[in-house]
């Protein structure tokens, strides 16, 4: 299998070439897509499968706090929880990462103290992305310099919706370059499309391809800051995109639904989508993440229920 983008080299040579390519992608029938996502949502995941799914989901969480009111104390508490989600059960897996604003990266990094939990930082004038390119790049470099392992950037939805696809592509490429550290290694780049603002499924498929062609390591649904965030349907569509991209280029790209996933039941539905669309190659936190905060406690309560046979309640998980 090829592991190269050469087959697509010509599609990013000009705005018109990129437009022709994106508009030549197969359309998405909204009713059919949502029906398929809903039908996978009826899978019944019980006992051993549920236990597996809960631990997998915990290990895939980017435990997130993205508030104006974030303080070093809040970030330290979150980091401690990421490393040790359930103080009563040390077999509980760690979350994949903590996700914070750039100015909190150093705090998070210090609090994690070398634990195998990544620090992800939003950047590029998150969440709106309304800033000049040099500002976005400086924002990115700043987070990387502070020790971020991963960068969650936002695309310029305005440019995309105005049809300036090449600008969108170039932005992602520039940010990707800004993720490179002095030693040549690089922070992994997650590209947020804000699917709720792109509004149509055709747009989400096109945005996915722009992101993948530009070098995204992950494509991510949403910031969590608008009305419509991750849904089973838009995540299914993005999974189809990374599946097709890998078949054509050999390059595997991760997917991160974010925002609005609050319950174990929801999380398991997303894992079923992964399992039955792209398969086990994506069933690890290197390739699939949940951007979430309150989800973790529900997973922990369900995990306690499975191991003890009774429901505990919100007082038996930590509030951070």
């Amino acid at each position: 299998m090829p592991t190269t983008l050469t087959a697509f080299a010509d599609v990013t040579t000009s705005d018109s070439a990129l437009r022709r390519f994106l508009h030549g992608l197969p359309g998405v029938d909204a009713v059919g897509l949502e029906a398929r996502a809903a039908s996978l949502g009826t899978r019944s995941i019980k006992t051993t499968a549920k236990a597996y799914a809960i631990d997998l989901a915990i290990s895939m969480i980017d435990l997130t706090t993205l508030e104006g009111a974030d303080t070093p104390g809040k970030v330290r508490a979150l980091s401690a929880k990421a490393v040790n989600p359930d103080p009563t059960d040390r077999t509980t897996p760690m979350t994949a990462a903590v996700c914070v604003y750039p100015d909190m990266v150093a705090t998070a990094k210090a609090a994690l103290n070398g634990a195998d939990v990544k620090v992800a930082s939003v950047a590029t004038a998150f969440p709106a992305g309304r800033a000049a390119l040099p500002v976005k790049l400086a924002d990115t470099r700043d987070a990387v310099a502070a020790g971020a392992d991963e960068i969650d950037m936002v695309i310029d939805r305005g440019a995309f919706l105005a049809g300036r696809y090449l600008d969108t592509y170039e932005l992602i490429k520039s940010v990707k370059e800004a993720c490179v550290r002095p030693d040549g290694s690089a922070a992994r780049l997650k590209v947020i499309f804000e699917t709720g603002e792109l509004s149509t499924y055709d747009n989400i498929r096109r945005a996915s391809w722009i992101g993948m062609l530009a070098g995204a390591d992950f494509i991510k649904t949403s910031t969590g800051k608008v009305g419509v965030n991750a849904t089973p349907a838009n995540t299914l569509l993005m999974l189809e995109a990374v599946r097709d991209f890998k078949e054509q280029t050999g390059i595997q790209i991760g997917v991160k639904p974010a925002g609005g996933i609050r319950t174990t039941k929801d999380a398991i539905k997303f894992l079923v989508l992964v399992n039955e669309t792209v398969g086990e190659d994506w069933l690890s936190n290197h390739w699939f993440r949940f951007g979430a905060s309150s989800l973790l406690n529900d997973l922990l309560m369900q995990r306690q229920k499975l191991s003890t046979g009774r429901y505990s309640g919100p007082d038996y998980v930590t509030v951070d």
Partner: protein, 478 residues
Amino acid sequence: MASVFEYAPAPESRSVVDIAPSYGLFIDGEFTDAADGKVFKTVSPSSEEVLAEVAQAGAADVDRAVKAARKAFEKWSALPGSERAKYLFRIARIIQERSRELAVLETLDNGKPIKETRDADLPLVAAHFFYYAGWADKLDHAGYGANPRPLGVAGQVIPWNFPLLMLAWKIAPALATGNTVVLKPAETTPLSALFFADICRQAGLPKGVVNILTGYGDAGAALVEHPDVNKVAFTGSTAVGKKIARHVAGTDKKVTLELGGKGANIVFDDAPVDQAVEGIVTGIFFNQGQVCCAGSRLLVQESIHDELLHSLKRRLSTLRLGDPLDKNTDIGAINSAEQLARITALADTGEAEGAERWSPACELPSSGYWFAPTLFTNVTQAHIVARDEIFGPVLSVLTFRTPDEAVAKANNSQYGLSAGIWTEKGSRILAVANKLRAGVVWANTFNKFDPTSPFGGYKESGFGREGGRHGLEAYLDV
């Protein structure tokens, strides 16, 4: 197909349904033995376990049931429509309340996955009764003039693929319009009709309005040929349909036939590919392909053939075949040994004719009747597998180059029940749909049913329409 994320068994509980060891015929509001005392066994196709023993109706029982229906007709047809509606609404609500029980029962007796009986069959059954309940007091406005009259006694013979749903398609419009019925379910799936008889009692439906005769083809023939039956409604094979048509010729019986099909599912190069793949799967593997309107012929534009087949095969590899009561099962059992033999023989014919056969890696259970999802590629119009109705999970893939060729090939069939069109271009949908000789044409979807929509065929797929306002006509003297 072992995956790191292996779904644990998730069986629906069997204890929600209480199947008695034996059942009688339902005549004039009572369960009774057959006149000659004959019985037959009904088995669960997924395990071959005997579920119950059921009375086997003969000509004498048919006569008794028709007499009961005739006797009930006078009062039933004289009821105001609003009163008949009350019974139908009551039946619809009881079906909803007992839907879990009925879904499990249907899955046990038919072999189809619980996912389908729970999410498709039962909701549609209830919807059908609700829909025709709504018509009962509005017949003056159905377009057949003022106060349209019922026909009398309807003799109805239904197949085994959607036992309760086909019963609903037959009984709901018949009762709404003021007819009384004698219905014979298929011999392999008698149980849900008998449970429906119980629902009729629960709803307080007057005696004799609905009579259920379980039995074989001879009972069906006796019912259809009974001189006091005014209306014959049959869903089943084209061969039996032709016999019925010959019989009713020269009588004043009104007849509707819903017969076989060889639906063309046409995928153009501008189709929404991922959804088309889902539609192809739904089209042919829903209910193991035992669907008269199945999209059993895939007509794919040559320019996307390889790409589409690749996606289709990948998707088929994720289908979960096994215990129909498991909530995660996609493909259940074939309904009977006889049907399995027919599917097997036709699939072998396909291979012998030189078509290329493919099935995903899939382990079949050791007991019961099972057939793996199967694709045939390199199929041409001349192949038997492209012409004959297989009524199983077998898809024949053909190609076309232009829209005209797609239409010509789609119409080149003795049948004309269903078709599908997959394209993102709206104008093409309209242009092609107008040229297709098929009773139902689905655009960018397949096997979607709704009680408001008429259903029926062209050519050897039968005549008359069921469902919607059009479905009333079959039961009215108009």
